[in-house]
């Protein structure tokens, strides 16, 4: 079975190579039969990679430790679930998995476009297959999952305990789905450049793909944060770690792209910009894969130094960048803007500012992430920049973006009149002032937190008003009840209202981030029966009493579990546990935190140390002194809630729109939109 997997891998590579050549040649000389052959090759690559992936999973389930990859990431005791997800637990498997997902998406693209966009398809298929061929070359040459050890170990090394977590198993696939889905709009952009068809067709035809990519990437990033929060055990969810940053980079440019294409669709501007954004989003996706997989930069979860892979990826990345830049230069005459910016007070300007800030944030994050390499190359001295750097740059950018989130969707196109501004912004500004003042009075003095909540109130109000106006108008015109009108409003204009829902989710996330300003932390070494207290920023007093210590031997670990009784404001509020786990297979210790979640704050309990762990297991000292770290993390639950709302909003925007809901272009010399949709009424 597993031998078939390796054979299939080689066939996939040959098919991808053949298909890439056939597609480009066929497109160039107009040979439709070659293009069709390339499209069949796409299906073939997908089928072969499915076989390869199943073979890898089979080798995990069959405990075939003669394979280096299986021996490195599994052992006999490992749960079935983690054996299946072993496919993407390590570098070699994840590269196969990456290619599998891309082949799947490529097959869907070929199928979707079997009778449309034919002028694009040769180069789209060619580009997708070049990327596939690259990944498969890396897999067979330097990172082969079927590489065998010189001997057969009796058991494998097991999976790193910190990766044995639900979120960690779905986090990489979500990210990879996002990274690979961005390849589709990238391929269409390359094809548009090569074929010279540079109107908005490549954008509209890949809009859903971009949204899909963004959806997965957003989910992947949030899953990663959840994993860090429950598993790493320091109470945070984001550390500006190189690998985290890597996934954020394509998200930033991808988000900019989602917005800037609207300007091209409506006003024929930013054509070069859009091409550059999607090219860089894809390049950054490759870069992120490479950074995670090469361990080039020291990182808490970097996958070991593997410089051979680093050079190969760097070469591919440089080649792609050069080719893309040359293509844009070659087509620069066809990428001229049809309109010009007219006023700072216009939707175009708000979108441009949004784009500029997203790209600036991307550069800042990229710079900070690569700085150890840059400084080492330039001065021979490795210097890193820590979280303060990233926070200092990105918090102000985030706050301006938060304001633009409210302004962008409702300010007039071309040039806003004072009447438009007054009409749209009086209430939101009033709400911002009100919320800011209320928080000030209740003692909030942290500037960034105050700004986040005031700007959040501003933006939330604009969103609510938009929904309210649209619903009211619809109820009036169509004679529907409010509830019905509300549902229809979203249904008939999914892209717009789905987008608003994403915005609302992001505002909630931002407020969750701001909660960090009021984190509370306490530490104490306790004997059984002793207690400690913390006061939360919401005014609750938590009293935690260390009750008991227990332990048991599981198949692959020894667990030491402390039970802690919680009282909130003097009333009993249940028990919490926090654990230390000693893994037998890998000689590692990990902490398992206890989290007590409320709608507004988390009580986060870490077992930081046990005085005499051996005494517990041997029975000589069953209830030793234990050290606890207790954190109150206000508003962290809002981050997960906001993330969920963002995902729902994206899915709504993704859903196929009702017919005839395509956007109307704003005419060049007429200030008002011609569309008669009630929710479009402005000024």
């Amino acid at each position: 079975m597993t031998q078939i997997g390796e054979v299939a891998l080689w066939i996939a590579l040959l098919l991808a190579g053949w298909g890439a050549i056939a597609a480009f040649v066929g497109g160039r000389v107009g040979r439709g039969d070659l293009v069709l052959s390339a499209e069949k090759a796409v299906y073939g690559v997908w089928a072969m990679l499915t076989v390869t992936s199943l073979a890898i999973i089979a080798s995990f389930l069959g405990n075939e430790y003669r394979y280096k990859y299986v021996a490195g990431y599994s052992n006999r005791d490992l749960a079935f679930f983690y054996k299946v997800t072993g496919l993407w637990a390590g570098q070699t498997g994840s590269l196969v998995f990456w290619a599998l997902l891309l082949a799947l998406f490529a097959s869907i693209v070929v199928w979707q476009n079997r009778s449309r966009n034919r002028e694009f398809m040769p180069y789209v298929v060619g580009t997708l297959l070049v990327v596939l061929a690259f990944f498969l070359t890396v897999v067979v040459s330097v990172s082969n999952p079927f590489e065998q050890l010189a001997f057969i170990p009796a058991d494998g090394r097991g999976l790193n305990p910190q990766l044995q977590n639900y979120w960690m198993t779905i986090h990489p696939p979500a990210l990879y789905l996002g990274f690979t889905a961005f390849t589709v709009p990238f391929a269409f952009a390359v094809s548009a450049l090569l074929s010279g068809r540079l109107d908005t067709r490549w954008i509209t035809t890949t809009r859903r793909w971009t949204l899909l990519a963004w959806f997965f990437l957003t989910c992947g990033i949030i899953f990663g944060m959840m994993w860090a929060y429950v598993e790493l055990g320091w109470g945070g969810y984001w550390f500006w770690d190189p690998v985290e940053n890597a996934s954020l980079l394509p998200w930033l440019t991808g988000t900019a792209f989602l917005h800037s294409v609207m300007i091209q669709e409506k006003r024929g501007m930013l054509k070069i910009w859009n091409i550059l954004l999607i090219l860089s989003t894809f390049l950054l996706s490759i870069f992120a894969t490479f950074l995670t997989r090469s361990g080039l930069i020291e990182s808490v979860h970097s996958f070991a130094q593997n410089l051979e892979i680093a050079y190969i990826f760097l070469g591919f990345l440089s080649a792609l960048t050069l080719v893309s830049a040359a293509l844009v230069w070659w087509r620069r005459d066809r990428l001229r803007a049809e309109n010009q910016l007219e006023s700072y007070l216009s939707r175009e300007a708000a979108f441009l500012a949004n784009n500029l800030l997203f790209v600036a944030a991307m550069f800042a994050v990229l710079w900070g992430t690569l700085f150890p390499l840059i400084s080492e190359g330039a001065t021979g001295q490795k210097i890193a920049v820590g979280p303060p750097f990233f926070n200092k740059v990105n918090i102000p950018i985030g706050l301006v973006l938060l304001a633009l989130l409210g302004i962008g969707p409702i300010i007039a196109w071309r040039k806003a009149t004072p009447r438009n501004l007054k009409r749209n912004f009086t209430l939101p500004v009033a709400m911002a002032v009100l919320v800011g003042a209320a928080l000030w009075v209740s003692g909030v003095r942290h500037v960034y937190a105050l700004l986040t909540f005031a700007l959040g109130a501003f933006t939330m109000t604009t969103i609510v008003v938009e929904f309210w106006k649209g619903t009211r108008a619809r109820a009036h015109i169509e004679g529907e009840g409010v509830g019905r009108a509300f549902v229809h409003l979203i249904e008939r204009n999914r892209r717009r209202y789905g987008g608003y829902i994403v915005h609302a989710g992001l505002v909630i996330c931002f407020m969750g981030f701001a909660g960090k300003a009021y984190n509370v932390e306490a530490e104490a070494a306790l004997s059984p029966g002793e207690s400690m207290t913390v006061r939360s920023p919401f005014g609750h007093t938590f009293r935690l009493t260390y009750e008991d210590m227990s332990w048991y031997n599981a198949t692959n670990m020894t667990k030491l579990i402390t039970s802690v009784r919680v009282e909130q404001d003097g009333r009993p509020a249940g028990m919490m546990t926090a654990e230390k786990r000693a893994y037998k297979q890998r000689d590692e210790v990990a902490s398992e935190v206890g989290i007590r979640r409320a709608w507004n704050e988390d009580l986060y309990l870490i077992l930081a140390g046990i005085d005499d762990a051996n005494g517990v297991v041997e029975g000589t000292n069953p209830r030793p002194v234990a050290t606890f770290r207790v954190l109150v993390n206000p508003l962290v639950p809002w981050i997960w809630m906001g993330g969920f709302i963002m995902a729902v909003g994206t899915l709504i925007a993704l859903w196929p729109a009702a017919q005839g809901a395509e956007v109307a272009r704003v005419p060049a010399r007429q200030a008002r939109p011609v569309a008669a949709k009630p929710q479009m009424v402005e000024a």
Partner: protein
């Protein structure tokens, strides 16, 4: 095109502010990666280097670890891995003992090297074991 110039000014202003934040942010959070012998050499050559944030990668010297469970007071000596243990200095850290901390382990300590020759650490990270990649040598043992 003239009209577009005023928008260029706006864009340049935005990028200028971001650039300013980056430069000042760098100054506040730069951390040098050093080995114990590099740190000693640098502070001997330039005493003001003590003000810089540093991350030092070394090994916990055997027989030097003392940890008070009650006060969470950790003291140990760190030695240079490369120079055969010639360079060493004491490290002081206040906080819970990291999970995999033990003698002879490689650690990264972040903090400042004080006048008294003691390294006051704000974080202590254990390096081994956090590697997710399998190493073939592990099987050959």
């Amino acid at each position: 095109m003239k009209k577009q110039r005023k928008f260029l000014v706006g864009a340049v202003a935005v990028l200028g502010v971001v650039g300013y934040l980056m430069v000042t942010g760098m100054r506040d959070s730069m951390v040098y990666y050093l080995t114990p012998s590099e740190l000693v050499a640098k502070t001997t050559a330039d005493p003001s280097f003590r003000e810089m944030g540093v991350k030092v990668g070394g090994r916990v010297a055997a027989g030097t670890v003392s940890y008070d469970q009650r006060t969470l007071d950790l003291r140990f000596d760190v030695v240079d891995i490369a120079d055969g243990g010639k360079t060493r200095f004491p490290v002081h850290y206040q906080g819970p003992l990291p999970d995999t901390f033990e003698e002879e382990r490689d650690v990264v300590v972040e903090g400042r090297f004080t006048e008294g020759g003691v390294f006051e650490a704000t974080t202590v990270l254990t390096k081994c074991g956090s590697r997710y990649e399998a190493v073939e040598e592990d099987f050959l043992k």
